[in-house]
């Protein structure tokens, strides 16, 4: 009956990011969401609890506005949540996020399994999971497609380039999961109502140990450019013929 901690990130929905004419990023109309890959992580944690018992705690480090994300996460099945929030936590680096999560887990919680998504939807640095394992001093398997629990150990099937490596790790252990682990459920009205009744522990900067300085400094950020012809064609036969003719002229037909 493992107690599981699942970590998630509240991120900008990249579909709403616009590019200004000068090539800068325009965030004025963005919305936020639980990072897609972390929804898989939450689903994996909840399925393991349903199969083996124990509990699931959802955890995030973010700005206070991410309280919406806590509610969203809880509507997807976890039993409770730990919300570590401060207005200065907007652009934390992976090493800082891992240090904060690690500090809180070590000092206040007991868990046998930590689950993270493969990477976040915004930075996609894929570092918080393995860094957190290192801080907690526990074994880790990344890019896991399948998890089973057998006594005191977790058996993880991790993806490598040409093979799948099946590893047995004594618990406590950490895994980061791929989407294959399980399609996230879509919360219903009842789930959303239940979510607001679940216990949430909120922690602030004052409850934490010293946060390390960031190592990486962003010196530039530009919208990526893709200059294409953007010519449109219709379905009528003449247009299709024109389309094929254009392909021919571009020399890509063989």
């Amino acid at each position: 009956m493992p107690d599981i901690v699942v970590c998630f990130k509240w991120v900008v929905d990249e579909a709403y990011i616009r590019r200004t004419s000068s090539g800068d990023l325009d965030f004025t109309s963005v919305d936020y969401k639980i990072s897609e890959y972390d929804r898989n992580a939450i689903e994996a944690a909840v399925r393991l609890r349903d199969a083996y018992g124990g509990s699931v705690t959802a955890m995030t480090v973010s700005v206070p506005e991410a309280t919406k994300g806590i509610k969203d996460a809880l509507s997807r099945g976890p039993d409770n949540a730990v919300f570590i929030a401060d207005p200065s936590f907007r652009d934390l680096e992976s090493s800082q996020t891992a240090a904060i999560l690690g500090g809180v887990i070590k000092s206040r919680m007991s868990c046998q399994l930590v689950i993270c998504g493969e990477g976040s939807g915004d930075f996609y640095a894929q570092q918080v999971g393995p860094r957190l394992a290192e801080i907690l001093g526990i074994p880790c398997a990344t890019y896991v497609q399948k998890i089973t629990i057998d006594g005191g150990q977790v058996i993880a099937e991790r993806k490598a380039e040409d093979f799948v490596e099946v590893v047995a790790m004594p618990m406590p252990a950490l895994v980061t999961v791929l989407p294959d682990i399980g399609t996230p459920r879509i919360p219903g009205v009842k789930d959303t109502l239940m979510a607001s009744k679940k216990p949430v522990v909120t922690l602030g900067k004052g409850d934490l140990e010293r946060i390390p300085e960031a190592s990486l400094k962003t010196v530039g950020m530009k919208a990526s450019r893709m200059e294409r012809e953007c010519e449109k064609f219709t379905v009528d036969t003449a247009d299709i013929a024109r389309f094929v003719g254009a392909l021919q002229r571009k020399g890509v037909l063989r």
Binding site: T142, E165, A168, C230, V235, G251, L253
Partner: protein, 315 residues
């Protein structure tokens, strides 16, 4: 001894990193070292390709994964204080890189696509994609060593130079890691490597059911190309094998021609083929983002368009 370090899982990845490693070592004014765990006879080749030093990692037991190297890599880096540590972005090495960086209290630039040496400031500047590929972030690292993971195929493999010499040093055994490998299952490739294909027809969620992929397959045949899919079609619905997943978290391709069939054009997917020579799309939604990144787009129902297209191409 400081220097530029290179770590990869195989020969081709190592040669690619030696290219950028050699360049950066020259700019920084330091030496180039490369780790070697398998095929030890490559040591001479790596020296001919620019390595000043080959560091032989001990062989690890069959039931150990690459994480067994974490203590030895961290310890060596602690002693030698390298300037720059270049690591191939493979599934397992990405984890090793993040854990070694944690032990060394340093930053790690993940999936770096460009590295520069800023001659004025003397800083190493690195570029990587953010927001699913919608943005390019440029970073510098303020701690040592500068650690970077680089996706395979980012750089050309290093060529040999005659008369180059170097040293070989064997590293000591590492302690065992806590995890135990029970089994390694080969992943049988169900398809060709689409990174080699000149033409790729990609199936998106606009295709209504698995059987309809036959239509896209027929188009691919007429175009003498291969078929691929978006993440929902491959990794979520499993209508196509996952090795055909095009995108930021899947495979990146640079074909002569990319044709998206019922592909909406989510940025994570587009990042997987942005360097294709010609990009085409078929989608019934005229406002689909794919049309903003395509050279030529046909606005229409794919079930109407694709058969007409096949017909016309056969002429």
């Amino acid at each position: 001894m400081p220097g530029v370090w290179v770590l990869a899982e195989n020969r081709s990845q190592t040669l690619e990193l030696l290219t950028i490693g050699r360049f950066m070592a020259g700019k920084i004014g330091t030496s180039l070292s490369v780790f070697l765990c398998q095929d030890r006879e490559s040591a001479g080749d790596y020296m001919a390709c620019g390595a000043d030093e080959v560091l032989l990692l001990p062989e690890i037991a069959k039931d150990q994964s690459l994480d067994a190297y974490i203590p030895i890599l961290s310890e060596e880096a602690g002693k030698a204080d390298p300037d720059l540590f270049l690591i191939a972005s493979t599934f397992r090495l990405k984890e090793i890189a993040a854990r070694v960086a944690t032990r060394l209290n340093t930053g790690l630039c993940s999936d770096c696509i460009k590295i520069y040496f800023n001659d004025r400031s003397g800083a190493v500047e690195m570029e990587r994609l953010m927001y699913g590929g919608a943005a390019v972030q440029r970073v510098v690292c303020q701690s040592r060593p500068i650690m970077v993971t680089v996706p395979p195929r980012t750089f050309e493999p290093a060529g040999t130079e005659s008369g180059r010499k170097g040293q070989i040093r064997s590293l000591k055994e590492s302690p065992r890691s806590a995890g135990r490998v029970l089994e390694r299952k080969r992943r049988e490739r169900e398809s060709k490597d689409i990174r080699e294909a000149k033409v790729v027809v990609c199936v998106g969620r606009g295709v209504e059911k698995k059987e309809d992929i036959a239509l896209a397959r027929e188009l691919a045949e007429v175009l003498r190309g291969e078929i691929a899919g978006t993440r929902p079609v491959t990794e979520e619905l499993h209508w196509l094998p996952e090795e055909l997943c095009i995108g930021l978290s899947g495979i990146q391709i640079k074909p002569e021609l990319y044709v998206g069939i019922g592909v909406s054009g989510q940025i994570q997917h587009v990042t997987g083929f942005r360097d294709a020579k010609v990009i085409c799309a078929v989608n019934k939604d005229a406002n689909a983002p794919i049309f903003g990144v395509a050279d030529m787009g046909i606005v229409g129902d794919l079930y109407d368009v694709v058969p007409k297209l096949i017909n016309e191409l056969k002429k």
